[in-house]
């Protein structure tokens, strides 16, 4: 065993990158769920975002354009979910699962011509002299723009939900859609917008995997990240900063366990492999011991006549 081969600075820098797809997708899902919509299609929207972003980045040569396309692709797919659940009043759980299956198939179809293609790489943000600060420079100032966007998004969602009228309306719709309707709020319209936001975020998260983390396209490459993001929203008690904590914890321990394995630590590998899931759940469960609970109208179907 030789722990000195693990470089903590590189480890922290790597965990931030590893956590970003989960963070983006979970933040989007958090907004949808705070509006009372349970969308289990995160995995499907992510993988569609991954291929849309990849294809557009390859064709246009611009990763930034790829991310825009990924957000659009994810949002477009979520529009299907919005139509099913908000207009035709279909069951949200079933529709969400269907969306995931549909997304996986659709992405495989769209991606057929892109297997083995190398995408243009996204340059890191140039912070100039800041990046040369020892330790902090590598951890904080040497990443791609999307990673910073993810952090900003969490802060923005938190501020929106807590301090703005728009956030209040969103939460009102999620807590009691009948009362919100009686107050004259457009429940369906607000929910559709929340679903679209969730889809766009999931799409970005997917494209982060296909354009930055792996960079390549392979069928089924999100490999369950969407489900982890979904679970994270619940364990984080629908609070943005806890989503960030959970995502970093999960990404961090995933990275750490690989590092420990490489360093030959004498802990059985099985325990290391399950540790990210265990620790993340444990910490968030302890945190959620306060009185926070799910939005009261989560997953319920709304119709103005009821």
């Amino acid at each position: 065993m030789d722990l000195s081969v693990i470089n903590p600075v590189l480890l922290i820098a790597a965990l931030m990158s590893a956590a970003t797809p989960i963070l983006l997708a979970a933040t989007g899902e958090l907004v949808a769920e705070r509006a009372g919509v349970l969308n289990l299609g995160v995995e499907g929207m992510m993988i569609v975002g991954a291929i849309c972003g990849f294809a557009v980045a390859v064709e246009s040569g611009s990763p930034a354009l790829g991310f825009v396309a990924a957000a659009a692709g994810g949002a477009l797919l979520s529009l299907l979910f919005a139509f099913l659940t908000q207009v035709t009043l279909a069951n949200q759980v079933a529709s969400g699962l269907a969306l995931t299956l549909f997304g996986l198939g659709l992405s495989a179809l769209l991606g057929q011509g892109y297997v083995g293609v190398k995408p243009p790489s996204m340059p890191d943000v140039n912070f100039g002299a800041l990046a040369d600060i020892p330790i902090l420079g590598r951890i904080l100032f040497s990443h791609d723009p999307v990673l910073y966007f993810g952090l900003a998004l969490v802060a923005a969602v938190w501020a929106l939900l807590k301090f703005t009228r728009a956030g209040l309306i969103l939460r009102a719709v999620g807590e009691n859609h009948d009362a919100a309707h009686a107050l004259g709020l457009k429940v369906v319209r607000i929910r559709v917008l929340a679903i679209l936001f969730g889809g766009a975020c999931a799409g970005l998260g997917g494209a982060y995997i296909s354009l930055i983390r792996v960079p390549q396209w392979t069928e089924g490459m999100t490999a369950g990240v969407g489900w982890i993001a979904l679970a994270l929203v619940v364990f984080a008690s629908w609070k943005p900063w806890r989503v960030l904590l959970g995502a970093y914890l999960f990404g961090g321990i995933t990275q750490l366990q690989l590092n420990l394995q490489g360093a030959g630590v004498a802990i059985p590998v099985e325990y290391l492999a399950m540790s990210p899931y265990l620790v993340t759940i444990l910490v968030l469960v302890i945190l959620s011991a306060d009185k926070s609970r799910a939005p009261a109208s989560l997953g319920r179907i709304f119709h103005a006549s009821s």
Partner: protein, 359 residues
């Protein structure tokens, strides 16, 4: 009256048609169960190439079906049962974890022939087949030992099963022969296919100083990670992965299942199919060595090709003594060659590898 006649004649026509169809030349139906997507660029991609070769060989006489992304567990049993119920005559189950499900389903369908890849359990209607990937690993190990500058070779394992351990041992033995200072760092990913995780594992190994990364997982993600890192070499796994040549991919192990799949399908069509255990290597053509690129120095390339020749001709076996086990006890005496039984169930590291095999 008229209606009844009409119905009767319609029913009769239908019955005749069905009978005619049944009596006519019925297609042989061949099913494939895949652990990853056919577009993984590695393991499943090559099995699917074998399936397409079967279609090409027999044309209209066969019909092939496949299900991809089948998890190794109860779900696999469901997929195989469905294939058998849908009339498959021959089913290839192409991952180690399908071993028990294959045996279970085969019991329920004695008339359907099953072929399980890389396993060791057989029955009257279950054959096993595998390729001697460790022969290719020996060549990779040699190139890795010669080319590493940091003397650290990273190895991404999938699951700690004999096939993977055999590969690690074979690569290590030959890396050590080429370079006595070489060390292996082994990371278990616990997945056959998860590009993000495979890329992470490769990055971690590279951060910890590895400048050669060997993989026993199915996607091309480690190749992409190595390419990004720069001065790191890799080898294509299961498939050529030539899109990453000449750097980082300097060579590859290619699985060629097509001849075997064609032969076995033919045996079913002719009624000569028997339960067998096939384990072929470079000599028989089941294992191919992808082109060694110019990133490898000419003398190393020549040595690697000579090693390939001697393995192919049978003159040299990659597990030839003296070889000790990890704990220092003697496994093979000088000149002794490992028997297939020990190789098939290999569950120990050879001397010099650090760390424990997860149990």
């Amino acid at each position: 009256m008229k209606l009844t006649t009409l119905l009767t004649s319609a029913a009769m026509a239908l019955g005749l048609a069905t009978a005619a169809f049944a009596a006519g030349h019925e297609k042989t139906k061949v099913g494939f169960v895949y652990v990853g997507p056919v577009g993984d660029g590695g393991w499943t991609y090559e099995h699917n190439k074998g399936r397409l070769a079967v279609e090409e060989e027999f044309g209209d006489a066969v019909e092939t079906v496949f299900v991809e992304n089948v998890p190794e567990g109860p779900d696999a049993e469901r997929v195989m049962t469905q294939m058998a119920l849908d009339g498959a005559d021959l089913i290839f189950t192409t991952s180690f974890g399908y071993m028990d499900p294959t045996i279970n389903v085969a019991k329920k369908f004695p008339d359907v022939k099953f072929e399980h890849a890389t396993g060791y359990k057989r029955a009257d209607n279950v054959s096993t087949y595998s390729a001697r990937f460790y022969e290719g690993r020996a060549i990779q190990g040699h190139i890795a030992g010669k080319m590493t500058k940091s003397n650290i070779v990273g190895y991404i394992g999938s699951y700690p099963i004999p096939e993977v351990i055999r590969g690690i041992n074979s690569a290590f033995i030959h890396a050590r022969k080429a370079n006595p200072d070489v060390q292996f760092k082994i990371v278990w990913a616990y997945t056959w296919f998860d590009p993000a995780k495979e890329a992470d594992a490769a990055k971690v190994l590279i951060e910890q100083g590895a400048d050669v990364v060997l993989q026993h997982t199915d996607s091309t993600a480690p190749q992409a990670a190595a390419q990004e890192a720069g001065n790191v070499i890799t080898f294509g796994q299961a498939s050529d992965m030539a899109q990453y040549a000449p750097m980082p991919r300097v060579s590859s192990i290619i699985d060629d299942w097509a001849p075997y799949y064609i032969a076995r399908t033919k045996a079913v069509m002719e009624g000569t199919w028997e339960s067998t255990d096939t384990w072929d290597g470079i000599g028989a053509g089941m294992v191919g060595i992808g082109e060694i690129t110019d990133a490898v120095p000419a003398d190393v390339k020549a040595e690697a090709l000579a090693l390939k020749e001697s393995i192919a001709s049978g003159a040299y076996h990659p597990f030839t003594g003296p070889i000790n086990k990890q704990d220092g006890s003697v496994w093979l005496a000088d000149g002794e060659v490992a028997d297939d039984g020990t190789l098939a169930g290999m569950n120990f590291y050879v001397e010099g590898i650090e760390g424990d095999i997860p149990q």
